[in-house]
């Protein structure tokens, strides 16, 4: 074991290497590592945030969907009610119309009937009077004639 100037040379060499490492090796690597670490933790945080907001959006979406469904159901119900209303309205209106038509028709028929009866009676009276005149001759006066005619008409 012989100690010589190698010791001093090695000490100098060590100082040089340590200085190089201190100035040019360690800080850049460390800074890159720190930066990456920060980037990764930022990324994880952002991912977590995105996850949260996705969850939130999902909840909002579900809520909106439920609301829309309820609204749709309501609208449908209203429409149904309205439709049945329209149908019942229409049917009652039609019924009324039919009634009216029926009434007016029967009135008309009645009128026609009466009119026809009247006519028929008149004609019949005339025929009867004529016939009677012919049978009786001119025995019956005009006034008498009128009176008989009226009576007959009333009777008929």
């Amino acid at each position: 074991m012989n100690i010589n100037a190698t010791l001093l040379a090695q000490a100098v060499v060590m100082i040089v290497f340590v200085a190089i490492c201190w100035k040019y090796i360690y800080p850049p690597i460390l800074s890159v590592m720190k930066e990456r670490e920060k980037r990764i933790s930022d990324g994880l945080e952002a991912a977590k945030k995105a996850d949260d907001s996705l969850e939130e959006a999902k909840l909002a979406f579900d809520k909106e969907l439920d609301q829309a469904k309820a609204e749709a159901a309501e609208i449908l119900e209203k429409a149904n009610a309205r439709a049945s209303q329209i149908v019942s309205d229409a049917s009652s209106k039609a019924e009324a119309e039919a009634e009216k038509i029926l009434t007016s028709a029967s009135t008309t028929i009645e009128n026609e009937k009466n009119k026809a009866k009247e006519e028929l009676r008149e004609q019949m009276s005339e025929i009867i009077i004529d016939t009677t005149q012919k049978i009786l001759g001119d025995e019956i006066s005009k006034e008498k004639h009128e009176e008989i005619l009226k009576k007959a008409a009333e009777e008929l």
């Binding site: 074991m1 010589n4 190698t6 090695q10 000490a11 060499v13 090796i25 690597i29």
Partner: protein
């Protein structure tokens, strides 16, 4: 070659550094003139691997930066490894250093950890591979011109820098200087001196306190360096001894040696990583102590 190769020469070959230094005749790397070099000699092989592996560390980590210059893309391949290493060091610094803000500690710990890990890993390269290769290359390149390279075997080349006490103590020395620097700048010179002189016996026994605290203070870097050196030196030694089993030229012992090699290499992976970690953890701990202004 086989005739001159003895057990002792094999072991000593593996434990001798390629040493270059100044002799009265001028600069040389002749292994027979190491005694004349004195203190001003350099273990060229240790320093070569130390610098090469340190440069590898810088290169790999630098490349990871140029790749991950934007933090958008997912990290991949080497970058993952680099970031794992940095995270590991950050965790250790956090737990040992607490809230004290000092931007040097983490890079220092990272450098020390990765660098020592790489140097220790050289221990797992088969013991003879690189020295023999280096010997042959040196002999082929400079065998004619340089008189001390007489054969590939006369070229010493030790590949594990952390089995050289100069390397481990050199690093511990660097950390020692840093602890002194931070002790003085953070606590102030007065508090630092007080810490060394006023404990544990109060102000009336300052010389005794100083001697005791000084031993404590000096022991830290020395133990730091020697612990790493001792562990790796012992590991290397066991690899060499297992490799020696092949000298018996008997097949059963050779097979046993192969098996032992495998077992020891697997176990040594643990030591390699553990010692690098311990050196790093103690580096952080010593520097943390330098920042603390606690009372004993």
């Amino acid at each position: 070659m086989a005739s001159e190769l003895t057990t002792e020469s094999y072991i000593s070959h593996h434990l001798t550094n390629l040493t270059c230094g100044k002799t009265p005749d001028g600069w040389t790397c002749d292994p027979y003139k190491v005694d004349q070099m004195g203190f001003w000699a350099f273990h060229v092989d240790s320093l070569f691997w130390s610098i090469a592996l340190g440069a590898l560390f810088i290169f790999v980590f630098r490349k990871a930066i140029s790749k991950n210059s934007d933090s958008n893309s997912a990290p991949s391949g080497m970058q993952n490894f680099v970031e794992m290493a940095i995270e590991f060091v950050e965790d250790n610094v956090q737990s040992l250093f607490g809230s004290v803000k000092n931007t040097l500690i983490a890079p220092l710990a990272l450098t020390v950890f990765v660098w020592i890990l790489l140097m220790n890993l050289m221990d797992l390269v088969p013991v003879d591979f690189l020295p023999v290769l280096a010997g042959h290359i040196a002999y082929a390149v400079a065998g004619d011109g340089v008189e001390w390279i007489k054969s590939p075997e006369s070229f010493y080349f030790k590949v594990v820098p952390t089995t050289d006490p100069n390397i481990t103590l050199g690093m511990a020395f660097g950390i020692f200087i840093l602890t002194i620097y931070y002790s003085i700048t953070v606590k102030g010179l007065k508090a630092f001196i007080a810490e060394l002189t006023l404990h544990p016996f109060g102000k009336y026994l300052i010389p005794v306190n100083f001697v005791l605290e000084m031993v404590n203070f000096i022991a830290k870097p020395i133990s730091l360096g020697l612990r790493l050196f001792g562990n790796l030196y012992a590991g290397e030694m066991i690899f060499i001894l297992i490799a020696l089993m092949l000298f018996f030229s008997s097949i059963p012992i050779g097979v046993l040696g192969f098996g032992l090699h495998l077992v020891w290499a697997l176990f040594h992976i643990l030591i390699v990583a553990l010692q690098a970690f311990i050196f790093m953890a103690l580096t952080i701990a010593y520097l943390a102590m330098a920042h603390e202004t606690e009372e004993h």
